[in-house]
């Protein structure tokens, strides 16, 4: 009977060989053990051991499913033929178009099946064991990159440097592979330098924008330009197709002359230049935007000298982590405002109130520092008293008390 078996084996082999003719490649997954009700996913196919008993005997039911993009799946039993030989080896053949999967069991028990899986006409992009079978498998689909192109300024003049940042994000349901970025050159700008070019070549599904490319260009001519979009080309893990996604095209206006920007004039004045320790000094922070362009994201930080204490200030002054801060979103064109801030002198010495200002003038972020000018804290009227060490007070006080006590006692001795 043994020769019989060899013949059948040989015949089957030949059958498969014949079947395989004209097919470029066959992949074999050897001795894969699949537990009962678990599966094995190859691309969007899931081979599942649905059952191991049939009619009370150990006789596994192996099924092949097709995962659909909407999350559902279909049993491909119409494309599957099952045979079982005298040795109880089970053969399963799935065949649909050029795609074929053949399975040969090596061993099976009530709890698992060990099988060889051979695929033909399928490029295996993705394979994995799936716990819980098909219902737990994920559809492997097409990647779709969203690409953005950002510029750090949109109003420049000729010669200005613009920094361009390209970011990408995979909004599809397949892994994006073999990504390459074409930053897209725009006439009217000269490429200056690459700042960041080492981007990932693969992006998994979802997540946030990943920085892909940063480079600087220089505005070479005036006019309003739409920067050419960057393009990402990439491919799927499952499908052989190539994909490409363009980015947006930011608009940059290049002026031949300097661009009109806002300017904030900051002036800090104190109500006095001399004060005594313990006294207060009030500063007026005068801001003015004399231009016709608004300034934005203004932040004013009065830096309180170490030996002064903040006492009070205008309503618009916020106290953030114990420090006064003025924050305004916009100073309109031709705008003026005064803030006051009152400090108390804790120590003698010379001081200045430095006020830091940052704002966006429409083109750039501007940082400035303005000083109130020096002011002098002198000794308070009775300060000199505090400077003596304690015993200087204690001794005379004790002496005075003792003398007073003595005089009182002495006087009472001589009074009737």
């Amino acid at each position: 009977m043994k020769s019989n078996r060899i013949i059948i084996h040989t015949l089957l082999f030949l059958f498969f060989v014949i079947l395989s003719i004209g097919i470029t490649s066959a992949d074999i997954i050897y001795s894969e053990r699949i537990d009962k009700s678990d599966g094995y996913q190859i691309n969007n196919y899931v081979i599942q051991v649905t059952n191991t008993l049939y009619g009370g005997e150990v006789d596994p039911t192996i099924e092949i499913f097709q995962l659909e993009s909407d999350g559902s799946y279909t049993n491909l039993k119409d494309y599957v033929t099952r045979t079982k030989d005298m040795d109880n080896t089970i053969y399963l053949l799935f065949s649909r178009g050029s795609e074929k999967i053949s399975i040969e069991t090596l061993n099976y028990t009530t709890s698992y099946v060990i099988m060889d899986i051979t695929t033909t006409g399928i490029t295996i992009e993705y394979e994995t064991a799936v716990d819980g079978g098909v219902s737990n498998a994920n559809y492997i689909g097409e990647p779709s990159l969203t690409l953005t192109k950002e510029v750090d300024k949109t109003n420049v003049k000729i010669g200005d440097i613009i920094r361009v940042t390209i970011k990408a994000k995979n909004d599809g349901n397949g892994i994006a592979k073999r990504i390459s970025i074409d930053p897209g050159i725009t006439p009217g700008f000269t490429f200056k330098s690459n700042i960041y070019t080492t981007y990932p070549t693969e992006l998994s599904i979802g997540g946030s924008f990943t920085q892909m490319f940063i480079y600087e260009i220089q505005a070479a001519s005036n006019g309003t330009f739409s920067l050419n979009p960057a393009t990402a080309t990439y491919s799927s893990s499952v499908f052989d197709d190539d994909y490409s996604s363009p980015s947006n095209s930011p608009t940059v206006t290049v002026a031949s002359e300097a661009v009109e920007t806002s300017v904030i004039d900051l002036e800090v004045t104190a109500d006095k230049t001399k004060l005594k320790r313990g006294e207060e000094i009030t500063f007026t922070i005068h801001v003015q935007n004399p231009k016709d362009v608004p300034a934005s994201t203004i932040r004013i930080d009065p830096i309180i000298p170490g030996n002064m204490t903040y006492v009070s200030g205008s309503e618009d002054i916020d106290i953030i982590s114990e420090k006064p801060v003025i924050q305004e979103s916009v100073y309109g064109a031709r705008y003026e405002k005064d803030y006051t801030i009152t400090l108390q002198a804790d120590e003698i010495g010379s001081n200045e109130l430095i006020v830091k200002l940052t704002y966006n003038n429409g083109v750039d972020e501007i940082r400035e520092e303005v000083s109130s000018g020096m002011f002098y804290v002198e000794e308070g009227e009775y300060d000199y008293l505090a400077e003596y060490p304690l015993y200087i007070y204690v001794a005379p006080v004790l002496i005075i008390v003792a003398i007073a006590g003595w005089l009182y006692w002495r006087r009472s001795q001589f009074r009737m």
Binding site: W406, L407, R410, R411, S412, Q413, F414, R415, M416
Partner: protein
């Protein structure tokens, strides 16, 4: 070291006592606050008065040393009431004194003319003599002669009673004699009090000095037991070019004495104490001057207290055999007593007049 008791009775006695305490502090107004009393001996001072205001006026005598005789506010110079009052309160006074330990000598200062001082001091001295062995001397201040008849008669009776007490001697100070020391009465009093105080302190020093050639309490007793029981004290100081002879002489002259006396005529015994830097105290000069005195009167004790750098000072204690001044005072006093009697008589007539008026007592006029 001697234990000395000084009692001031009545306003005059209190004030002289206060002056002694003040001088012992050094004499400054605020001296009591910064200085200690410089008594050479252990000195206890007691002020006694019926008038609490007089006691309150004291400044340099401790409050605990002031005894107020309760329920009486001065005796208005009435010695009869005064003696009665002393008898009622003597136990309390004696108890207070006895609580202060033992004494070697006592002085009782008072005026002879007021109520409290003049009526308390003779019986007080008698009480002390009854109880203790130590000598008790009276320092008696005689009144200004123009102070009136009551003061004169009081003085006469007081001095008499004092002599009859067992006092070991009466040292006289005479306001009348000393009145030229100051302008208004208060300044005069203060000046006289200071003179008395100065002499008492000097005397204590003379009695209690450990130096050689110095008199002691025994000498003083001997001097005081001489004469007719009256004594006075003289004092003088010189500057760096006054001859010691002159200083001694001055202390015996009216400018130095507390009571008017011709010492060469009236003196009985004397004690002369000289104090100052050795360079001023020429022994020959001293001896010749003292010899001159002793050739006129009886024994003269002399003592020398050396004080480096100090200008010479002389204290003389003299007992008197006779005293013309006191005779004069008694003559005045007798006149005064007669005048008082006359007044009394006039009072009696007035009383009769009262009786006349009293006839209509209880009657109402009828119209």
């Amino acid at each position: 070291m001697l234990n000395v008791l000084i009692i001031g009775v009545g306003q005059c006695g209190n004030r002289i006592l206060d002056s002694i305490n003040k001088e012992a502090f050094g004499g400054g107004k605020f001296s009591k606050y910064y200085s200690r009393q410089k008594f050479p001996s252990r000195v206890e001072t007691i002020a006694i008065n019926t008038a609490i205001n007089d006691l309150k006026e004291m400044r340099y005598t401790k409050a605990k040393d002031r005894i107020h005789i309760p329920n009486l506010h001065g005796l208005g110079a009435n010695r009869i009431v005064g003696k009665q009052c002393f008898n009622e309160n003597k136990d309390m006074i004696i108890r207070n004194i006895s609580e202060r330990g033992d004494f070697d000598v006592a002085f009782v200062i008072s005026s002879s003319s007021g109520g409290t001082g003049s009526s308390f001091s003779p019986p007080l001295i008698q009480e002390l003599k009854n109880r203790y062995d130590f000598p008790v001397y009276s320092i008696m201040v005689l009144p200004f002669r123009e102070e009136g008849t009551i003061y004169l008669q009081n003085s006469a009776f007081c001095l008499k009673e004092m002599r009859e007490s067992e006092t070991d001697g009466i040292i006289l100070a005479d306001n009348q004699f000393l009145k030229n020391v100051g302008g208004d009465i208060q300044t005069a009093y203060d000046g006289i009090n200071k003179m008395v105080a100065e002499r008492v302190l000097f005397l204590l020093e003379a009695l209690d000095s450990e130096m050689m050639m110095v008199t002691d309490l025994g000498d003083f007793k001997t001097v005081m037991s001489g004469g007719a029981g009256f004594a006075t004290i003289g004092f003088a100081k010189g500057d760096n070019n006054t001859a010691i002879k002159t200083v001694i002489h001055d202390s015996l002259s009216p400018s130095g004495l507390l009571f008017s006396s011709d010492v060469y005529e009236e003196g009985s015994r004397a004690m002369i104490i000289l104090r100052g830097d050795r360079k001023y105290l020429n022994i020959d000069d001293i001896s010749s001057e003292i010899d001159k005195l002793s050739s006129h009167i009886g024994h003269v004790f002399k003592g020398v207290i050396i004080r480096n750098g100090e200008t010479p000072k002389v204290l003389s204690v003299l007992t008197l055999e006779t005293t013309a001044e006191l005779d004069d005072l008694y003559t005045l006093a007798v006149e005064a007593i007669h005048m008082e009697k006359e007044k009394r008589g006039r009072m009696a007539i007035r009383k009769e007049a009262d009786a006349t008026f009293s006839k209509i007592d209880g009657l109402e006029p009828e119209y």
